[in-house]
């Protein structure tokens, strides 16, 4: 396993023998690359559970009336699906997996600033995840509040809300510590000559994300503690009978949870900004605009949370102000989209699997983003609030956005991570099935929502049957595609052809080192002289 050209004996991080052997060598690893893979495998497992729960909902909704489960079971399942997918899959997703693996490499560092803290973050991620999954099996029944845990219902329901919220609290700490680690890493460990404006765009996105993780997550932590205190001691933060305000819960919850959407989507945009220049062999258009728009999104994204609360009884003035700010936050997102399109113009386009996923990201993100504006405007929001339209919008942004970016990232970087290449033809077929299945699953829900199909309902009127059936069939097509994609990636990682160091002719630092990288990434510290995307 040696390329034989380096002066230093090359051992990949996968073969490196540390203090511990076997599985302990992974659980006690402080190497950012091993921790990244630990995150990836655990997140993939939770994603699988979330998908199964989603499919169960799709079977239930395939026909009106009770199909396979009771209403209360359905309430539990959509709550658990939400909690797992949000707190255990999409929030850590890109930053904990690809951020951990590639942030140090992209800025020319040997590791993150606090490797042991990084390992600790994964440990508490696992503890929190076990708590969340366990909340499903308590005698009191799975939580039935939806992943938002809205008061006052969450303070009175008999289901195991306390364990589920404690799980979210613990998972939040993992997120905070990862964010802190990344901020310090970017400030302290950039290679010589790597100025902020010489950094690739994925680290830029991670930097903006890390600030949100660090600043917003404590707010939801405190909110969930308030909720638990209210349940246990009847304090009266949210109960009007005790002088509290139920809207206070929604304010506090969304002050975190709107920025949390950017924790999911900003790294996704970062990934796309890496893939597009590589597969068009062009210098990225508007480098500074893309870099700074990440910070703008993070900043303004903190101030728009009220658009989740238009119908909850907020003051008139607050509603139009939040609406205005929501339209403002769409601008930096649009800046990125235009810059990606401008980069592709006259580029030498190479339709390899990562680029296909990146293109579908842009397509789906535009649909999700523009329908978001419909929701951001107060008048139309009141029409479609709490309908399937919201479900469709959200999944277009999070699955079509963050999900497809994750698939793009794994197809882009897996040759670097494992040193082996997957099969292109199978990857393309899986992509096609996923893309078709995704749109069949979620697009009908836009229409159903407009027609008045409420979300989180176990049953529906016969008039929604057609759309629901198409959506359910789409769900199974999507799941088939996901299975094929994962199978191909696993086969590729284990038995694929040996991948060269730079299979895509990329220009950023990770392509200058062997695949898979050695323990310390670089034999000698790289010195950076130019912008990362110099193809011309």
């Amino acid at each position: 396993m040696s390329s034989g050209t380096e002066k230093v004996e090359y051992v990949s991080y996968l073969d490196h023998q540390g203090k511990y052997k076997g599985i302990l060598g992974w659980i006690f690893a402080t190497d950012h690359k091993r921790i990244a893979l630990l995150y990836m495998y655990s997140i993939a497992a939770f994603f699988f559970v979330g998908v199964i729960l989603g499919l169960l909902m799709k079977i239930e909704l395939a026909a009106p009336g009770q199909t396979i489960m009771k209403p209360q079971t359905y309430n539990g399942i959509f709550t658990v699906h939400g909690v797992i997918m949000i707190f255990m899959v999409v929030i850590p997703g890109l930053s904990a997996v690809f951020g951990n693996f590639f942030l140090p490499i992209l800025i020319g560092a040997k590791d993150v600033s606090f490797p042991k803290l990084n390992r600790f973050s994964w440990w508490i991620f696992i503890v929190g995840s076990i708590m969340a999954v366990a909340s499903q099996f308590l005698r009191s029944g799975p939580p039935d509040t939806g992943w938002t845990f809205y008061a006052p219902y969450s303070t009175t329901t008999g289901t195991s809300v306390i364990l589920a919220t404690s799980a979210a609290f613990v998972l939040g700490f993992s997120s905070i510590l990862t964010g802190l680690n990344f901020i310090v890493t970017i400030h302290q460990l950039r290679a010589p000559g790597m100025k902020f404006f010489n950094m690739p765009l994925f680290p830029w996105a991670l930097y903006a994300t890390a600030w949100i993780q660090l600043l917003a997550t404590p707010i939801v932590g405190i909110t969930l503690v308030m909720l638990i205190a209210e349940r246990l001691f009847g304090i009266g933060f949210f109960d009007p009978n005790l002088g509290g305000d139920p809207l206070l819960y929604q304010h506090l919850f969304w002050i975190y949870s709107h920025p949390a959407v950017y924790v999911m989507i900003l790294p996704a945009m970062g990934v796309i900004s890496e893939i597009i220049p590589t597969f068009t062999q062009r210098k990225i258009y508007g480098y500074k605009a893309i870099a700074l728009s990440s910070l703008a999104i993070a900043g303004v994204g903190f101030l728009v949370w009220g658009h989740h609360m238009y119908t909850s009884g907020m003051s008139e003035q607050a509603r139009w102000f939040f609406s205005l700010l929501t339209f403002v936050v769409a601008v930096p997102s649009a800046i990125k989209v235009f810059n990606w399109l401008a980069t592709m113009y006259k580029g030498s386009i190479d339709l390899k699997p990562p680029f296909l996923y990146a293109l579908s990201f842009i397509f789906l993100f535009i649909i999700g983003g523009t329908t978001g504006l419909l929701l951001g405007s107060v008048a139309t929001n009141i029409q479609v609030h709490d309908t399937a339209f919201v479900v469709a919008h959200f999944h277009y942004i999070i699955f079509g956005g963050m999900g497809f970016a994750f698939f793009a990232a794994i197809h882009y970087w897996s040759p670097k991570i494992y040193g082996r290449m997957y099969d292109f033809k199978r990857a393309n077929i899986a992509w096609g099935i996923i893309f078709v299945g995704f749109n069949m699953l979620y697009f009908p829900q836009f229409i159903l929502g407009f027609q008045g199909m409420p979300r989180r309902y176990f049953d529906y009127l016969p008039q929604f049957q057609g759309g629901q059936l198409v959506s359910s069939i789409g769900g199974f097509i999507l799941a088939t595609g996901l299975f094929l994609m994962v199978r191909n990636l696993v086969l590729g990682a284990r038995k694929g052809e040996i991948a060269p160091a730079n299979p895509w002719n990329g220009s950023t630092l990770e392509w200058q080192i062997p695949s898979p990288p050695s323990l310390e990434n670089f034999d000698e510290e790289p010195v950076i002289k130019q912008n990362p995307y110099d193809y011309e």
């Binding site: 600043l215 809207l247 903190f302 003051s315 008139e316 003035q317 607050a318 102000f321």
Partner: protein
């Protein structure tokens, strides 16, 4: 970069800061007894800000840190103020 001399002065300042913080806590408790209506939250938040400022400056050594770090903390504070203000657009007009 502390030598012995700066250490002794530092202990004295730390003592003063502690005293100031305790005074503020006392003030916060006293103020809740006075009926200020909607301004009770404002006053409580202002006192809390004064406490946070001293803690960060002296206990957390922000005073001796680089300008960049001070600016970063400053941005966070501005964000915090904006979030509070925007929340009160709801509460003030409801």
């Amino acid at each position: 970069m502390a030598n012995n001399v700066s250490h002794t002065t530092e202990y004295r300042t730390l003592g003063k800061v502690l005293l100031f913080l305790m005074l503020c806590t006392f003030l916060t408790i006293t103020v809740t007894g006075i009926h200020l209506g909607p301004f009770s939250v404002t006053v409580a938040l202002l006192i809390a800000c004064a406490k946070a400022y001293t803690v960060m400056t002296y206990f957390m050594h922000l005073k001796y840190e680089s300008l960049l770090l001070k600016l970063l903390v400053g941005f966070v504070f501005v964000l915090f103020v904006l979030i509070i203000l925007i929340t009160f657009i709801d509460y003030a007009f409801r």
